[in-house]
Symmetry: C2
Subunit: 260 residues, 2 copies
Amino acid sequence: MNDAAFTHGSCKKCDTCAIHQRSFCRAASDEVLNELSRISHLREYEKGQVIVAQGDDAEIVGNVVSGIVKLTNMSMSGQQNIVGLLFPSDFFGRAFSDESRFSYEAATDVTLCCMSRHAFETFVVRHPEVEHELLLTILDELDATREWTAMTSCHTTMQRVATFLFILSRRSDGVFCDPSSRTRLPRPIIALPIGRRDIAAYLGTTPETLSRNIQTLVRQNIIRSLDTNHFEVVDMPGLIDRTGETREDLESMSGAEPLR
Amino acid sequence: MNDAAFTHGSCKKCDTCAIHQRSFCRAASDEVLNELSRISHLREYEKGQVIVAQGDDAEIVGNVVSGIVKLTNMSMSGQQNIVGLLFPSDFFGRAFSDESRFSYEAATDVTLCCMSRHAFETFVVRHPEVEHELLLTILDELDATREWTAMTSCHTTMQRVATFLFILSRRSDGVFCDPSSRTRLPRPIIALPIGRRDIAAYLGTTPETLSRNIQTLVRQNIIRSLDTNHFEVVDMPGLIDRTGETREDLESMSGAEPLR
DNA sequence: CGCTCATTTGACAGAAATCAAAAGCGGTGG
DNA sequence: CCACCGCTTTTGATTTCTGTCAAATGAGCG
């Protein structure tokens, strides 16, 4: 699409950006991208750092470049709920609102392409084609969130666990940025990006129940444990079977994504 | 905001539209609204009619004017999952996508302000200020959906039932369109817009468990049964108490809304 | 090595799903 | 008007699953 942006050296930072082709900025022309690059800056956060706190002024927005960001909601009782996970190329922060209804926290060490919310807002209003692309992104996000809602509301814990693992097996190869480097492994690897406590919260269960379900899958030779956070899918049909979904539905989920 | 649109007679259909002030079209100027009115038309659907089917070409988009639309997702097992409910002023249909990932179905008799998806898409691209307003709408929708996700993943069934009833008590008076006609009833009425089976699916439980929880609330004098689908809230603090949320959180949910 | 924290495992109580049946509601046709 | 039928909702009895509490094991680190 933006071949020019790659052959010319209009914006080094963005040209070499791993997610450029997958985030809303792909709609920007060379010069617009240049402008965008002037208001954005890469920033690293260590695992556990809070990027935007719930109820905060939400002054930062941007894209996840590498690592995983977790989106959380603190409930009255003080319990932290995982509302979603943001992967590379996903948009984070709450544009056009004075406060964020959720917290954004680094689930792993992350690199973010950050912009001041104000600067971003005036930028997109001046560039409708970029705002349009952002709208498409958010619409996909909404679909994905609703699909996840559908998933969680009628499925057993085992089905949710299996679905989660399936999706991670599609995401974990770091394959989402550069399609050409995609090497189809015969035995997909599942890399758990976050701790059991967070996964459990995301799946609406407890670490104990999650652990039991995972161990059950291991005993049934569906997956094999490599280390605490890595598993190998031994029996993919068996895993899909336990999700209670068709392979097609799962594929569509892992593309646009509930977990994003 | 658009006083001119109301004092002038630029567009009779839109001027008298109950939801005009609350939907994305409020961003349109007189002449733009006029243009919009030329591509839109009111249409009635009877309860149970499918407006857009899952996987369909999704050729229609628009706003809910009156009644309630249910958003459903058919899972592999053939079970119908309720993903959300759309109330008056909510946007329905999937813009900018060739197929809808969900079905839109009339949960009650509804009136919709319909547009051809294609006409709508070219329209908003020509009018960035309207597309911007649409983006704001979708961002709110996304927040609301995530908040609902947070709700369902960590709460007991009773808390989900209480929250659902609370939200309906705020929506059921048909009060969401014209703030001036808002008559605060001392005893809010809850009108269940859909059957128990659907509500149960939406809340991630079964009709039996749902029924038991409702009957428990009746026995505890929190609500009083008028007929099968109507209840009166006798003890609002008690109801709020059983949601496990603060009143503030509930208000924000019923405004922007998980159920939308 | 000893510390802390995360994960796994076990035992048990409570909640919800399931199975089964009764009651309520709305329509149809005699 | 009433009896019958199909459907939804409610209620009851039972089983299964999951959350909770508690303890053991394992991983990372100074």
